[in-house]
Subunit: 422 residues, 2 copies
C-alpha cells in the first residue's frame, strides 16, 4: 500500500500564508455581519440525498460526492444504481442545508432569523485551474422577513464587509425576477418559456445584443417578441430614469405590480442613501442569476477590474415551503469567499499585525534551570500581548534567522549556554 | 420524495447560542496558540483511502465514511467489496492528514513547523448521547523538533489556552512510552507483549490494581512479571521523588536510557516553573494513551470534576517516515473541543460582549425617505462599534421585544410613521 503525499484529486492543502489571510477574512466577516445582528449557525457537511436532490440545487445536483452505505445496509450483490449503495452526500451549497435547518428549528429561532454560515461545500466538478472540489462558502440569509428591509440589510451588510476587507470601486448589480417576467410577458412570451428566455438573456455580456436576438430566434421565438423583449431590456439599461420608464412601460400597462416597483425603488434609495461612496449600486435589467429558485430581487457583486462576479444572491420565497408546507419569505447574499481570498493573495495583501513577533533562539545543551527561566520569560511576554516563538538554535543560525524574518519575526533573542557569548 | 427536516443520523445542527460560544472559543484558541508561534493550516476533509487505512488510525479505521466513486469509475455490476466502489474517505482525525500535508510541503514550511489545525472529523460510530458522527478537533503539532522544547511548548500553549477559556484546577498527566517500556522490560515482558500489557494497565482507574493483576494473569503472563510490573507502577505512582526512584530502578539497572529520564525531568521542571498555579502537572506512570503510534512522552488533560479527559497527545516520531521514508520528530496535543464546548454550555458560560446591542423597530408603512435615514443612522452606529439589528415592528411588539431581550438586545429604538407617536 503506497501512501500518497498529494491531496485527493481536485482539492487543495492550504499553506500558512494563505491560511493567515483566510483566518483574518473569516474574523472580519463574522465581526462585521455580527454588527448587523446576524448570528452564526452550522449544519453537518453530510445531508440526506433526498434533500440534496430536491431540485433546489440546479446543476449542482449532478456533482454530489455521495457517502457509501455502511455495514449491513451496503448490499453490493444486489445493487443496481448509486442510490442503492449511498445514503448521504456532501452538501454542494449552504442554502439547501439552511432551509432544512430553519424548517427543523423554526420554533427555537428568532423571527425574522438572520443567519450567517461559513463552511465548506463540495462539488465533483471537472478539476481546473483555480477551481477546487472543496471550497468555502460564506452566506448570509434573512428568513421570515417579507419586506425589502431584508434586501437592504443584506446589501449593506455585504458591502460593508467587503469595504472592511479593503475592496472598493466595485458594483452591486440589482434586478428583480418580477421585472424580468414583466418584460417577458409584455414581449408576448409564455410563462413556461421564461426560463429559457432568461438563460439566453444571461449571455448578453458575452454574446452581445445581436447574439441574444439570434439565439432567441434560433430557439423558435417570434421576430416580434424577440425584438420587443430585447429593446425593452436595452432601453431600460440605457434609461436615465429606469424606474420612471418601468412605471410607464410595465406598471401602467398592467404587466408589473406597482408594489414590486415601489419596493425595488425603495431598496435602491435606502442603500444609496447610506452606502458610502466606495461602491456603486446599479439597476441592471440583464442580470438573471442562474438558480431557478429566485422569486424576487436578485443581486450580484461585480468587480470588473478582477474579471467578474464575486458573489450574489436574491429572494427565494418558495424554498422553505418545500420542507414545511408553509410559505416563509427568504432572502440571501453569498460572498465568493475563495475569489476574495485569491484576489487578496494576488494583490499581496498583508494581514494587520497582531502583536510584536519575537523569536527566542536557544543554544543546544542549555541547562534545565535556564530553560525554565527562558520559558517563564516567554510566557510573561505572551501574557503582555507579544508573539514569542521559541526554537533551538540551528547550526546555520544565519539561515534560521532569515527564515524567521520571512515569517515576520522582527526581533531575536539569543540564549547561550555560556552567558558571556551573548 | 420526502424532504427530511432532521440532520442525518448521528450528526447535529448547531443553534445560535452554542455557535456563539464555539466562535468565541475558536477565536481565543487561534489567538492564544498564535502567541506561541503556531500557524493555522487546513487540509481537505476527504483523504485517499490508502492514507486513512495506513494503520495510524487504530480503531478509527473501521469507522470511515467512504466516498462513492463517480462516473465511469463506478462499476457496480462487477463490484465485490467496498474498496471497489469507493475512492476516498472523510478524515477521522487531523493527525494522518497533517503528516501527509507535511510530507507534501516540507520544503515550503518553516523548520521546525508549528501547526494549528481546527476542523471537523467524521467517525461512523454508533450514535449515542453527546457523541456525534461529525465533530470538531483542535490540534497543535510541532514537526521537526527533536528536543523536549516541543513537549514544553505544547503543554504551556494548551494550558494557557484552557486558562484563557476560564478553566482551572485541572491536571496534566504526564508519562513516557519509554518509561512504560522500561517498566515492562524490567518486569520481564517480551517486546511484542508490551502493547497488550499497556492496554490492560490503561484500565487501572476503572478496574483497580487487583483488576489489572487479574487480567494480566488471565492473559497468561507469569505471576512474577505481573507482580513486579504492578508494584513498579504503583511504587512510582506513590513516590515522593519519582524521578529519583526511576533513576535507581530503571536507569541504573539499564532498562531506561539516562537521557530519556533527564528529558522527562526537564519537561516537568520547565513547565512547572512557568505554568502559573491554575493547573497541576503530574507524572502518572499509569497513563498509556490509546494510539499505538506514540513513541515518547504522552500527556492528557484530566478534569476530574467533569468526569474525565479533555484532550491529550504525545510524541510520534515514526509517522512522517511512513510517507517520506525520512524520520522526522513529531509531537502533538489535541484539545477535546466538543467536550470543552459542552462544559461551557453546561456551566452557563456567557461570551464577553462585543459591543452595545440595539434593536431598531420600524413601523409598517414607513415612507422611503425615512427608511433611508434610519438605515443611515444604523450604519453610522455600526461603524462606531455598536451592534444594530433592524426589524419591522410586529403587531405584538411586547413579545417581539421580549424575544430580542433574550437575544441580548438591551436598547430599543422605535420608529413610527407619524413621528408624534414616538
Amino acid at each position: 500500500m503506497t501512501l500518497s503525499k498529494k491531496p485527493v484529486t481536485g482539492m487543495k492543502d492550504i499553506l500558512p500564508e494563505e491560511m493567515e489571510i483566510r483566518d483574518y477574512c473569516i474574523s472580519v466577516i463574522k465581526d462585521t455581519y455580527g454588527k448587523f445582528g446576524f448570528t452564526s449557525i452550522e449544519t453537518p457537511c453530510i445531508e440526506n440525498l433526498a434533500n440534496l436532490n430536491c431540485k433546489a440545487g440546479g446543476e449542482n445536483e449532478k456533482l454530489i460526492f455521495r457517502i457509501l452505505k455502511r455495514g449491513e445496509k451496503l448490499d453490493l450483490a444486489n445493487a443496481q444504481t448509486q442510490d442503492d449503495v449511498s445514503d448521504g452526500g456532501l452538501r454542494y451549497d449552504l442554502t439547501v442545508p439552511l432551509v432544512r435547518y430553519y424548517s427543523a428549528h423554526e420554533a427555537e429561532l428568532p423571527n425574522p432569523f438572520k443567519a450567517l454560515q461559513m463552511g465548506s461545500v463540495w462539488r465533483a466538478d471537472r478539476p481546473q485551474k483555480g477551481r477546487y472540489r472543496q471550497f468555502m462558502q460564506c452566506d448570509i440569509d434573512i428568513l421570515g422577513e417579507a419586506s425589502n428591509l431584508a434586501e437592504i440589510e443584506l446589501i449593506l451588510a455585504t458591502t460593508t464587509t467587503l469595504g472592511k476587507l479593503g475592496f472598493s470601486d466595485f458594483k452591486i448589480r440589482l434586478n428583480d425576477r418580477q421585472i424580468l417576467k414583466a418584460m417577458a410577458k409584455r414581449a408576448g412570451f409564455e410563462e413556461e418559456q421564461y426560463d429559457e428566455v432568461f438563460i439566453i438573456l444571461d449571455k448578453l455580456d458575452k454574446i452581445g445584443e445581436e447574439g441574444v436576438k439570434e439565439e432567441l430566434l434560433k430557439a423558435g421565438y417570434s421576430d416580434e417578441s424577440v425584438k420587443t423583449f430585447v429593446s425593452l431590456v436595452t432601453d431600460l439599461q440605457n434609461a436615465k430614469e429606469p424606474v420612471k420608464l418601468m412605471q410607464e412601460t410595465l406598471v401602467e400597462k398592467g404587466f408589473l405590480d406597482a408594489s414590486v416597483l415601489e419596493g425595488f425603488d425603495e431598496i435602491i434609495e435606502a442603500v444609496t442613501a447610506s452606502k458610502g461612496d466606495f461602491f456603486d449600486l446599479e439597476f441592471d435589467p440583464t442580470l438573471v442569476r442562474g438558480m431557478s429558485y429566485y422569486t424576487g430581487t436578485i443581486f450580484e457583486i461585480a468587480m470588473p477590474q478582477y474579471g467578474g462576479a464575486c458573489g450574489g444572491g436574491g429572494r427565494y420565497d418558495g424554498m422553505v415551503g418545500k420542507f414545511t408546507g408553509k410559505q416563509v419569505p427568504a432572502c440571501g447574499f453569498s460572498i465568493g469567499f475563495e475569489r476574495i481570498i485569491m484576489l487578496l493573495l494576488e494583490n499581496g495583501f498583508k494581514v494587520p499585525g497582531k502583536g510584536e513577533k519575537t523569536a527566542y533562539l536557544i543554544e543546544k545543551g542549555m541547562p534545565k534551570d535556564r530553560i525554565s527561566a527562558i520559558m517563564k520569560e516567554a510566557q510573561d511576554a505572551r501574557a503582555n500581548g507579544s508573539i514569542v516563538l521559541i526554537a533551538m538554535m540551528n547550526k546555520n543560525k544565519k539561515f534560521q534567522k532569515e527564515q524567521l524574518t520571512a515569517q515576520g519575526y522582527a526581533e531575536f533573542k539569543e540564549f547561550y549556554v555560556e552567558e558571556l557569548k551573548k
